[in-house]
Amino acid sequence: MDSGSPLRSGRNDGWPSAFPARSSIVAKAFAFINDKRVRDVFYQAALLIGLVALLVYFIRNASQNMVQAGIASGFDFLWRTSGIEVPFVLTNYTQSDNILALFWAGVANTMLVTVIALVLSTALGFLIGIARLSSIWLVQAIAGAYVEFVRNIPLLFFVLFWYFGVIAALPAPRESLSVFGVAFLNNRGLTIPLPDAGANFKYAFIAIAISCLLHWLFLRWAKRRKEQTGKDAPVLRVGLVLLLLVPVLALAWATLATRWDIPVLRGFNYRGGFVVIPEFVALLAALVTYTAGFIAEIVRGGIQSVPNGQIEASSALGLRPGQTLRLVTIPQALRVMTPPMTNQYLNVLKNSSFGAAIAYPDVVSLFMGSALNNTGQAIEIIAMTLAVYLVIGLAVSAFMNWYNARIALVTR
């Protein structure tokens, strides 16, 4: 309703009317109902009233049906004892806790598989995306075939395939596939060693955080000095020490200094360590292999979107190939890649719910499945489950929008 534009302005004042004035009241009435502003308000009000009426009708039906079926309403059920056994928990949930604790256990499991899948699929996706641009034809062809294969098959197919086709076909614990003698893969999942105490790792992570902070401060100092004096600082060497050597040493020290509970075969199964359930392994494998195909296309598109002239110009300015990649190609490719990558990351979050099909205890299968079956309170439970995804989705979108604005091209 921008009244500034003559094409969209409301009244057709000054134009010959189709209805010559018979009486002033009729003319005014016609003018009133032909006024665009009046019509706009009318249409919007009609739509709004219609939708609200439909909603009220549905809610009335629902409450009547619920009374008839004897279903309670309200959120009191959250404090009832759940009694649902969960095979894989990160929180300290037990069967005797309330349903709210079950909800959080589900959310934690959803987040766990999402975050790990994000990291792994980004890494694999970048690898395949760069391979698609390789100068070696066979590398390109294999990467292309992978992308075409993965993108044209449903994700649920991969989930079921990994679970019933691959993990179920793995050997029994006695003949497990050993990973360096500390982790064991068999048809009951992946058994990994568990540290007896986490204190050493806590110190290691504090050390890593401090060295990251130092690196950031050093970069700021180096940039300011470069702007003032034009002198280069040994950014690469310091970066290698602070960002690679320190973390590796800290983690190595923590690993060696901690006593590990290494799984040992006793009878028919492994004792000790931590068992990653097969559902998790299958869901993670499916999410990573599937999403990597989509991320690879985004990476390829992003890199290809950088005009060749940019690279030629930077080498004409005397930048080395590594510098060109780091300072010219990647920053511009990232700008193109950010919005579709955000979409993919949100897809991974939403797709983690595919675990419900193989009973991975995520929020959908625990809360929308088990808890709903026990309590029957469909509306409350559905609302809470959807809210998890909407809240996380909105938070990620907000963060990515902020990041996008930060790296966006500044134009005059």
Binding site: W137, L138, I142, I153, F164, V364, I379, L386
Partner: protein
């Protein structure tokens, strides 16, 4: 990749252009052989092709006898064998009218399309579900590839018109309509489709007046349709935004009302631009129909999964997955190639 029509000399260049390329090519070729040879042996050389039962499969390879024995189920689910001509006929009618619309002269296309849109969907449901003179067949008995196609088509019959309306609403100057469209789109795009299918199967019977039941399959189709509509809306919005503003302004200046301008000027151009994106959303829909498995509706993947439980055919996991996976891949690959060809046609 344009390698398919390359000359032999450039093939040599491609594979063995320099020492590094040669080494990498040979290593990768060895890797491919190491992976592919056992697979080909399993699927083709050692496989059993003829026979009737599990006992005929004596070799170490795949038992395609299983797929042969189950082929009818993979295609139609538990649909009665003597009635299978009905979904076949419905499919042929859909395909023929699609071909007719594509081949028809330009001025007839729109009216033909609208007629097909009005007549075909109810006709298809009548043919497959029965009643009114045909033997009624409950949706519980439908399944297999037929159901995958059915859900894809009927969910997109909800999703495409609703998506177009939502996209128009999102572009609207009327604040309330825009807000409603944005909320609707962002809500459905923000939640997992698997949760939407659960939601539809639980909530739809609850919000209907007592005594009116909603069929299990209809719930899944409606849930999928709403969800995909939000994605379709974003695909159509791309087309709407690509149109120069002058198009609507010129239409308004010529005295066309909003709906006339939309119908005759805006949509024909915007939909043509967004057709590849709409096709991509349709591919996503075909892939997402597999999710009806969670409310125990057995589409192609569901039937394959269910057939694993048959005690007469123990250990046929790989055969079932390879067959159903290959079918999905063929369908989606063909659709994506079509979408790509539309894009290049437009690009020219």
């Amino acid at each position: 990749m344009s390698a398919a029509n390359a000359l032999p000399t450039s093939w040599r260049e491609r594979l063995f252009g320099s020492p590094t390329i040669t080494v990498v090519t040979l290593l990768l070729a060895a890797l491919i052989a190491w992976i592919a040879v056992p697979i080909i042996r399993w699927a083709l050389i050692d496989a059993t092709w003829s026979g009737q039962t599990r006992n005929d499969c004596t070799g170490s390879g795949a038992c395609w006898v299983f797929v042969k024995a189950r082929f009818g189920q993979f295609m139609y689910g538990f649909y009665p064998i003597e009635e299978r001509w009905r979904p076949n006929l419905a499919g042929i009618l859909f395909a023929l009218s699609g071909a007719a619309i594509i081949l028809a002269p330009k001025r007839l296309k729109l009216s033909l399309g609208l007629a097909a849109l009005v007549i075909l969907p109810p006709l298809g449901v009548w043919l497959i579900a029965g009643g009114f003179g045909l033997r009624a067949i409950e949706t519980r008995e439908w399944g297999g590839l037929m159901l995958t196609v059915f859900i894809s088509i009927y969910a997109s019959l909800i999703a495409i018109p609703l998506g177009i309306l939502l996209a128009l609403g999102r572009q609207s100057e009327l604040k309330v309509i825009k807000l409603i469209a944005v909320l609707f789109i962002e809500f459905w795009r923000g939640v997992p489709i698997i949760a939407v299918i659960f939601l539809a199967s639980l909530l739809l019977p609850l919000i209907m007046p007592a005594g009116i039941g909603v069929d299990r399959l209809a719930r899944a189709v409606i849930g999928l349709g709403f969800c995909i509509a939000a994605y379709m809306a974003e695909a159509v919005r791309g087309g709407l935004q690509a149109l120069p503003k002058g198009q609507r302004e010129a239409a308004t200046a010529l005295g066309l009302s909003y709906w006339k301008a939309t119908w005759f000027i805006i949509l024909p151009q915007a939909l043509r631009i967004s057709l590849p994106a709409i096709t991509n959303e349709f591919i996503a829909l075909v892939k997402n129909t597999t999710l009806v498995l969670v409310v125990s509706i057995l589409d192609l993947l569901g039937i394959a999964q269910a057939s694993l439980a048959d005690p007469a055919w123990v250990g046929m996991n790989m055969e079932a997955y390879v067959f159903s996976g290959a079918l999905y891949w063929l369908i989606c690959f063909a659709l994506s190639r079509w979408s790509k060809s539309l894009e290049t046609k437009r690009g020219r």
